[in-house]
Structure formats: C-alpha cells, structure tokens
C-alpha cells in the first residue's frame, strides 16, 4: 500500500486523479478493512493535514462553510455552530467516543454515506450542500443528491469533498438532533431525527424541516410538514416520521420498534428546536441535556 500525506489540496486532487482514495481520520476505513468489509485501497492520500480543509468560516450571506477536515470535536465545541446550527453540534457531540470525535471529520462522516450517520439529518434540515472538488474544478450538490444508497455517494472517484456549505439561519430559528441510544455513550444511532424550526413573532411554527437517521437506505427528509402551533407541528412530525420511515429489523431493533421510536425522536427534535428558536438555551447535545439521557447525578 502507498500513502501520500498531502499538505495542499492540489496535491490531494492530483493523487485522487491518479487513483488514490482519500483518508482523513481513517476510523471507518481502517476498522472496515480489519473486519473484512473492504480491503484497504492500494493507494491512499491522507487529507488530514491540508489546513484549508480544517477551517470554519462565515460565508458572505451569513451562512457557514465548514471544511471537510473539521473534526467532530471542533464542531461540538464551536460556539457559532452550537448557537446557530445546534443540530449539527448535537450530532457531532454524539459520534463515537472523545477519541473518535478528535480524529473523525465531518467530510469523512458525510462521504462514508452510512444511513446511520449522525451528522446527516442535521445537514439535510439546514439545506446544506457538499462542495466536491477535482482537478477539473468544483461543484456543489445538495445532500439528497449526494447520498444514493447505503455507503454510496454520487461523487466521482476523483472528487474530494472539501467543504460543507450551510445557508444562513433565519431569525427565530432553532434546531436539534436527537437519537435513540441504549447507552449514554459509544453508541450508533438506532434511529435519530433532526429538526429545524423557524417561529413566527408570536411563537408558532412558521416553517419546519425534519430529517431521519437509520430508517431508510439513506438519510431521508420528512415531507408534507407545515406550520402551526409547536404542539401540532411536533405531533404531525411524529406521525409523518413514523409513516414515512421504511426501517429494517436487525439486532439493534425491530422495524416496528424503530418505526415507533423515529416518531418519538422527530417529535422531540421539533420540540427542542422550537425551544431553542424561542431563545432558550439547551446544552449540546440535547440527548444528554434533557430526559433520559441526563447524567444520573443531575436527575434528582
């Protein structure tokens, strides 16, 4: 196996054009290879030292550009992301262990294309786009276009995800990501849901987007949701999520249980997002800030 440690984007793209595969933290790739999922590619290019991929910055329109090499740890602790794109911070804070969050990157998570990825549903509800670069230029695709199936993306082999673009948040907006987990840490989403809510001046839901984790072949967005009172919208999200999910049964959960729980997660995500939209602070991640996920000592 050959490895190029790239320090510039151009070097990385050249290596990709020559047939190398990108590696960032390597967690998915190395573990996968050892478990016989897929052998390590013959040629790898390490992209974790390309500084331009590791920055978080405002875009001109008030949105955010997160480099593909930005770690989950950076995302979970970034005050801007926490305040304005809270659902993404909620999600990154739940990924694996502290070590995984230091090594694992947003780009790696997104391009791995797992339907159980935690950051996926938040990106969908934010209307995010992935910026894919190659030797011949770059393009931006929305998430639904990017993910085509479990572990599969529409990116070409010589394209590298260099950044995620998040549109600016509207006033009175809030978001949240919750997942069902059996332990308080070291989990993979059994199901998860992200919600982004914008409130009217009198506190009703003006617009809402909800996306679901681990209930279909890819991250899916719930359709048909409209504004209304927070309670009505949360209830509608619960019903729609359970209705639109197409979960499987596996050793983590039955399809029936998943279908029930995705509704619960969707409802709670809308409720938490609405609370945040109203100006309330709920700590990152929501999973450990409210309800059953709270620390044992904090509950009584």
């Amino acid at each position: 196996m050959s490895l190029l440690i790239a320090t510039t984007l151009d070097d990385a793209l050249a290596a990709l054009a020559a047939g190398a595969r990108p590696i960032a933290g390597g967690t998915d790739l190395v573990v996968g290879a050892r478990h016989g999922k897929a052998p390590l590619p013959a040629s790898l290019v390490a992209i974790d030292r390309i500084e331009s991929l590791r920055t978080v910055g405002r875009s001109a329109d008030g949105g955010l550009v997160i480099g593909a090499g930005v770690s989950h740890h950076t995302i979970e602790t970034d005050s801007t992301i926490g305040a304005e794109w809270s659902a993404l911070a909620d999600a990154s804070a739940l990924v694996g262990s502290p070590a995984t969050r230091h090594v694992g990157t947003l780009g790696g998570n997104v391009m791995n294309g797992s339907p159980a990825m935690d950051t996926g549903a938040p990106l969908v509800v934010f209307g995010a786009e992935a910026e894919l670069a190659s030797g011949s230029g770059s393009r931006r695709v929305d998430m639904a276009t990017l993910w085509v199936g479990p572990g599969r993306t529409s990116a070409a082999a010589d394209e590298l995800c260099v950044a995620i673009h998040l549109p600016a948040r509207a006033p009175r907006s809030g978001s949240a990501y919750l997942r069902l987990e059996y332990r308080r840490a070291m989990e993979i989403a059994v199901v998860g849901a992200a919600a982004s809510v914008t409130l009217t001046a009198d506190g009703a839901v003006d617009s809402v987007r909800v996306a679901l984790t681990a209930v279909a072949a890819t991250i899916v967005e719930v359709t048909g949701l409209t504004g209304g009172s927070v309670a009505d919208v949360a209830a509608a999200a619960e019903a729609a999520a359970a209705d639109q999910a197409t979960p499987i049964s596996d050793l983590r959960a039955s399809d029936r249980y998943r279908r029930h729980c995705i509704g619960v997660m969707a409802r709670r995500a809308v409720e938490a997002a609405a609370r945040r939209a109203s100006g309330e602070t709920i700590a990152i991640p929501v999973n450990r800030a409210v309800g059953i996920g709270m620390a044992a000592g904090a509950a009584s």
Binding site: Y182, R183, M186, I292, A295, A296
Partner: protein
C-alpha cells in the same frame, strides 16, 4: 515494590496494590505482551456451523504452505474425552461439531497472517445435523441428541443425566404440592433470561515453550492449577513436567476459568519444535470459550397465607448448557437454590435441568446462575407482595431468613446479617420517598455461598528482614492476592509493604483453586496466616533467646519483637532475620483446614453436587433507583444502594471495588448485555459495539454498606467471600423498579429498551 511517598498534604494512602505501579506505568506484562525468540503464531480453524458431521477434513494444503510449521487435528493428539462433570469434550472435533466455535484444527506459522491463511486453506466438508437451540424442545424425548453417545460418556458419580439433560438436580423439602393446595394465595410466574458474556477487557492469550520433555505455558487463566490439570490429562503428561505461569491477568469474571487452549498451544509447540503464541481477537473471545453466562427458563410458583407468609414454593428450571458441559455440571443445583432463595420456605420442590443445545458452552461466569435466577425470583417476589397487598420490603422482611432460621434446603443459619442488609440498603437509598412518576426504587435480596477448598502458601523472611509470600493463589484484578500481604504483615508485626508476592506459578507455589468462587482470601488467606504464624513462632523464640525472656512474653509489632510490658527490651525483626540467616531459616508453610459443609435437615436432593448447603453464606440487598423513558422504553439507573454481609471486611477499599464493579456488570446484564442468536444457533452480536457493556457515562453513584459479622467456620478473621455476591441482586432490583413504574414486570432478561417498550404496550392494550 516501591510506593511513591504521599504528598504531605494529602490523606494517607489507603490500600495501594503491590501490582499497582506495574499497571499504571504500562511496565506490567500481560500474556499477549510476551514473546520468545523464534515464536510462532497460532490460529484455529473453527467449525463455523452449529451442528454437523465432518465428512471430509483435509489439511494437506495448509501443511504445504511456506511458513506453516505445524497443523494439528484430533488425529494428532491423544484420544481423550475430558470434562470435570461430564467427559463430553475433546481438544479437537472428532466426528461431529456441536457449536460454531468448536476447534477443528490448529495451525502454527511464522506469522499470524500465514497462520490465518493456512487455517482458511484447511478443507472441511460437513453433513448438516439438526440444530438444537430451544431448551424445552431439547428436553423432549424425541428431540435430536446433541451427543448421540451421551450414555457412553464418563461422568462424576453424582451427576444425574438423561439424553440432552446433562445434569438434573432437585431440592425437595416437606410436601410442596399439599401445602400449595392448602395455600390462600398462589402466584405462578415464568421468566426467561438470555445468555451473556464475562467480557474481560483482555482477550485471552497463551504462549508455550518446550525445553526437553518439559513445557512452560504462560497463559491468561484464572485457574493455573486447573489449566495444568487439563494439559496433563489431554496430553498425558505428569504434573511436574507442566509449568503454568500467569503474567498479569486482564480480568476474568469467570470467563477465564477452566482449561482452555493451553493444551492446543503446547501440542503445536511440541510439533513445531518452536515456541508458539495464541492471541485471541475480540470476536474469538465472544465465540469460542466454554464460559459464557447461561440462558435460563425459570418457572416459579409460590403459595402463601393471606398475611403473606410463604408456605410452599415449587420451581422448574431449564439452563442452557450449550454444546459441552464444561464446569456447568453443578449449575442445576445452584440455580435451584437461587430459585428457592434466602427465604423461610417450609415446603419446597424445585427441579432443574442443564440442557444441551448447539450454543456455545456455558460455564462459571461471576456467580453462575445467580443473577438470572435472582432476577426471576425477586421479580416474582414483588408479584407475591402485590398479590397479598404487602409493601415489597415488608414482604421480604417477613419471609427472608435470619440468624437461627431454617432456609429452603434445611440449613439453619448461624449469625447472619440479611435483615440488616435490607434495612441498610433501603435506608441509604431513601426508599419510600416521593418520586416522579417515571422513577422508582426497586429492591432485591440475594445470597451466595463461600467455597471451602484446600489452598496453600509459603512465607519466608530473608536475612535483610524483607518478606516474600509465595502462593498458588491467582490475582485476576480483585486485589485478593494483594490483600494477602496485609494478613502476613499483621501476623508478624510488620508492614504490608515489607512483603513481595510470588504468585500464579504452578511449579513454585502450592496448590490453590484459583481466582474462582470468590475463594482466594477465604482459603488462601487462611494458608498465609498459617504460614506467617509459623515464622512468628520462630521469631518469638529467637527474640526470647536474644532478650532473655520467655517466648510467650514476646510481642511482634511495628517491625520489632519486644518483651510485653518492657518496651526497652526490644529487637528489630530485621536483626532477628539476620541472626536466623546464619542458622534455622525463617520459612513458613500453611494450608489450614477448610471448613466443612453445614448440616441439612429434612431435605433431599437428587443430583447433589454439594450446593444445597452454603458454607459461610453471603447475603446482600440492592436498592436501585431507575428512571424510565415511557415513550421509548429506555431505562437509566440513577443511583444504587447496596448492603452486603460478607463477614469481616479485611480490605475495605478492595471490597468496595468488588461491589461497584459487580453492580455495574449487573446493570449491563439488566439492560444492555445479552447474546442474540440466529435460528442456526450462531451469535449475532459478537462485537463490542453490538454487545453493550456499560460505559463510564452510564455509571451511577453507588453507595455501599458492609454488615460486618465475624463469621465462625469461615475465612481469616471471620471473612466470607465477596467477589461474586455483588453481581447477584442488581438486575433483580432494576426489574422491580421497572415493574413499579410500568405496573407489571418485564419477563425477559436483558430488559432491553424494546422489551420494556413491548411490556408497556401490553399494559396499554389491556
């Protein structure tokens, strides 16, 4: 050993383990850390099917691969069937494979990669046989046999066997049927527990090297003498040509009890004429050993008077033995005792079957059968309390055994502290306080015997006054061996730090049963006290000569021998040791007489493997506060309060560590840890991500109280065992908390979120 001096401002260090500095600096070596010049790597070829006849086995391609130094199958080792209770196992599959982790062949090669490729290159063809996975179906008279030749197998004399029932046991006292017929209230329950795993963080490893006709085996076993006996039996070697050394052991919890792969690796090393090392992957650790915790079906019926007094109990238990009996032969009787429970029950009739299936074999995992049986019994007990309108703790106080009471098998107890345990644990938990409606405190009681077995140790004091304890005991992490220093030091008026330990080496020290049955301090403590006492006697004589006094007047304290009442007449033990080094050396050896079993009155036991009489019985009560997310069924343990009667506590810090670790393991068993099988009897979750141990983020605060009663006929200073008892009652207490919130019990273990949710839904549907 050196212990860093404490910071002057900090409190004096309490128990600091002799092996602690090795473990916190990374300098301590575990088996997988060892290597030898020329060492080869071993890999096994597993059956990978649950039940089949081998129709073709061809290792020629593997043997021909460059770098492969030896390939062994059943044809290459002595034809020996072994097993402590039923001789149903061979080192390698002979004709039929009976579970997926059964070893068909072993390979030693110059690298692990080559060894794996060679193992994969072995050609095996099978004729499928019917796979037996259901416990009740397996007991049917027309069920396919897991062992067609079962009747021809040797077994321990007291084991009662029939077809797929590998060990039947019953406890009968009084007339349960008649009493039940006359009872005012009768409650029947069925509870079903899945199997689970010991899951020590260290996967096992074995390294073997022959020199001439002697073999040294470094291995991660909890029971070095048992491992030696297994090697000797299967490879037909005398004990003095097999040396088992255990480097630091990375946890066991019973999973590393018994005899596992030492003989395979020794045989490979002999054939290859090179040292050979085996290191398990986590997946192998899940699939292959014959030591996972047994799944169980438990039916219990209890008859009561309207005032809640229990008058009769009957029970039927099926225990998943898996494909081979390993050390599980006594599980049927032990499970029957745990379903009877630490209660005053005058009429008892309980039957237990240890049932062959094509699952991985079961074996002693921390308090075998007890957490599941206690979970069932104590969940049932809350149902009983509800049925007679009594509060669950009051119901237990009414019926639980106490000093002088007779237990379900006809044993009358000396002074015991169960009632005090119930009081302490519930009081410390704040039991009875108002709680939110999604929270409850569940209470359960448990018990566990101490194991009385022979054990030996030497103690010596060298010429400079420093001491050595040379013991056959095995340290698996609990600190039990580490605590031996304190016992020797107290006997000799020295400090624990004055002693070093030489342990877990079968050619150096006398016999000990190993880190199993919570027996180390109980039995080896007695041996060390005995050995140190001999030296104390020598020192008193030496001091008497030196100080011109009578040996009876010599007091050993603070590193000195002094004449009682005359503190100026004193000599240091180091000086006496110097004197002794020129004459009669300071050497002690001890084993001590193990206490015998207490008498049983009025009960009869079929398949009696000695488990109906509890030597120095330990008792416990756990009170666990649980919060439930009613929408999803996810439960969280918020706080745990425990009280334990394990007799005198010799090392409180070590004892607390045992309780806290046992409780967390119990929480895992209660909520997240359970083996799931496919319809072919193969494990579906043989990985740490899918087999979920509790993490640091899940760990609740644990409050522990020891009810200390110096117990006669027990371990040193009236100590009983401790390491397994904390694992008994936690899952049961969690079950009762969940039942209090939901309104009915969750009848499957583990009580996963989905099962809790299903139980909630059944309730809603009513």
């Amino acid at each position: 050993m050196t212990v860093t001096e404490p910071h002057p401002a900090r409190p004096a260090p309490r128990f600091v383990r002799a092996d602690g500095p090795d473990k916190v600096t990374g300098s301590g070596r575990y088996t997988a850390d060892l290597s030898l010049t020329g060492v080869l790597a071993a890999k096994f070829r597993y059956a990978d099917v649950s039940h089949a006849r081998i129709t073709r086995l061809d290792v020629s391609a593997a043997r021909a691969m460059p770098g492969v130094m030896s390939v062994l199958t059943a044809a290459d080792v002595p034809d020996v069937r072994f097993g402590p209770f039923v001789q149903d196992r061979t080192l390698f599959a002979t004709d039929v494979v009976r579970f997926e982790g059964e070893i068909i062949a072993a390979v030693a090669a110059t690298t692990a990669e080559i060894a794996q490729r060679a193992a994969d290159a072995i050609v095996v063809e099978f004729e499928p046989l019917p796979v037996v996975t259901d416990l009740e179906a397996s007991l049917a008279t027309d069920a396919p046999l897991v062992h067609g030749d079962w009747a021809d197998y040797g077994s321990a004399e007291v084991v009662v066997r029939d077809r797929n029932d590998a060990s039947f046991s019953s406890i009968t006292k009084g007339d349960a049927a008649a009493a039940m017929a006359g009872a005012d209230v009768v409650v029947s329950s069925r509870y079903v527990a899945d199997g689970c795993h010991a899951a020590p963080i260290e996967p096992r490893a074995v390294l073997a090297q022959w020199e001439g006709d002697k073999v040294t085996i470094w291995t991660s076993t909890q029971v070095p003498f048992d491992a030696r006996a297994g090697v000797c039996e299967t490879l037909k070697l005398p004990a003095n040509r097999v040396r088992i050394i255990v480097p630091h052991l990375g946890g066991g919890f019973g999973g590393k009890c018994g005899f596992h792969y030492e003989a395979h690796i020794a045989a490979l090393a002999r054939a290859a004429k090179r040292p050979v090392r085996l290191v398990f992957s986590r997946r192998e650790e899940f699939l292959a050993p014959d030591r996972r915790r047994e799944g169980m079906i438990i039916d219990i019926t209890t008859g009561m008077r309207t005032d809640g007094t229990i008058i009769a109990r009957s029970g039927w238990i099926a225990i998943d033995n898996g494909a081979y009996t390993a050390d599980a032969g006594f599980f049927s009787q032990l499970a029957a005792m745990h379903v009877a429970g630490p209660y005053r029950v005058p009429n008892v009739s309980i039957e237990a079957h240890l049932v062959y299936t094509n699952h991985q074999p079961s074996g002693s995992v921390r308090a075998p059968t007890a957490p599941q049986a206690c979970w069932a019994l104590e969940s049932h007990t809350d149902e009983l309390a509800k049925a007679v309108g009594l509060e669950p703790v009051a119901f237990r106080k009414l019926n639980a055994v106490d000093t002088g009471a007779e237990g379900p098998s006809g044993q009358t107890y000396d002074e015991i502290g169960l009632q005090q345990c119930i009081d302490a644990a519930t009081a410390n938990a704040g039991y009875g306080q108002e709680l939110p409606d999604d929270e409850a405190i569940g209470v359960a009681i448990g018990w566990w015997p101490s194991f009385s077995v022979p054990s030996g140790a030497y103690v010596k004091i060298d010429g400079d006054g420093s001491g050595q304890i040379i013991t056959g005991a095995q340290e698996c992490g609990t600190g039990a061996v580490m605590t031996l220093r304190q016992l020797a030091a107290d006997e000799l008026g020295m400090a624990a730090e004055d002693f070093q330990l030489v342990y877990q080496d079968t050619s150096v020290a006398p016999y000990d049963m190993g880190a199993t049955g919570s027996q180390t301090l109980f039995n080896n403590g007695r041996a060390v006290v005995n050995a140190a006492g001999q030296i104390a006697e020598q020192l008193r004589k030496l001091a008497a000569d030196h100080l011109e006094a009578s040996p009876d007047d010599i007091v050993l304290a603070d590193g000195h021998a002094s004449v009682a009442g005359t503190p100026t007449a004193t000599v240091s033990i180091a000086e006496l040791a110097g004197i002794a080094s020129g004459g009669e050396l300071l050497i002690g050896h001890g084993s001590g007489q193990p206490p015998g079993p207490p008498p049983l009155v009025g009960s009869t036991c079929v398949g009696d493997l000695g488990m109906a009489a509890f030597v120095a019985p330990q008792f416990s009560c756990h009170a666990v506060r649980v919060k439930l997310d009613r929408d999803t069924g996810v439960a969280r343990v918020l706080a745990v309060s425990t009280a334990h009667d394990s007799g005198t506590i010799i090392n409180e810090l070590g004892a607390l560590g045992q309780v806290e670790g046992g409780v967390l393991m119990g929480i895992g068993q209660a909520l997240t840890e359970g083996t799931t099988y496919d319809d072919q009897g193969k494990q579906r979750n043989a990985a740490m991500l899918e087999y979920k141990l509790q993490t640091c983020a899940d760990a609740p605060p644990i409050n522990t109280h020891f009810v200390q009663i110096a117990t006669p006929d027990a371990g040193p200073r009236g100590a009983k065992g401790l390491a397994e008892a904390p694992n008994v009652a936690t899952a049961a207490a969690i079950s009762n908390a969940l039942a209090a919130i939901i309104g009915r019990p969750v009848r499957r273990l583990p009580m996963t979120a989905e099962r809790v949710w299903e139980t909630l839904n059944e309730e809603a549907a009513r």
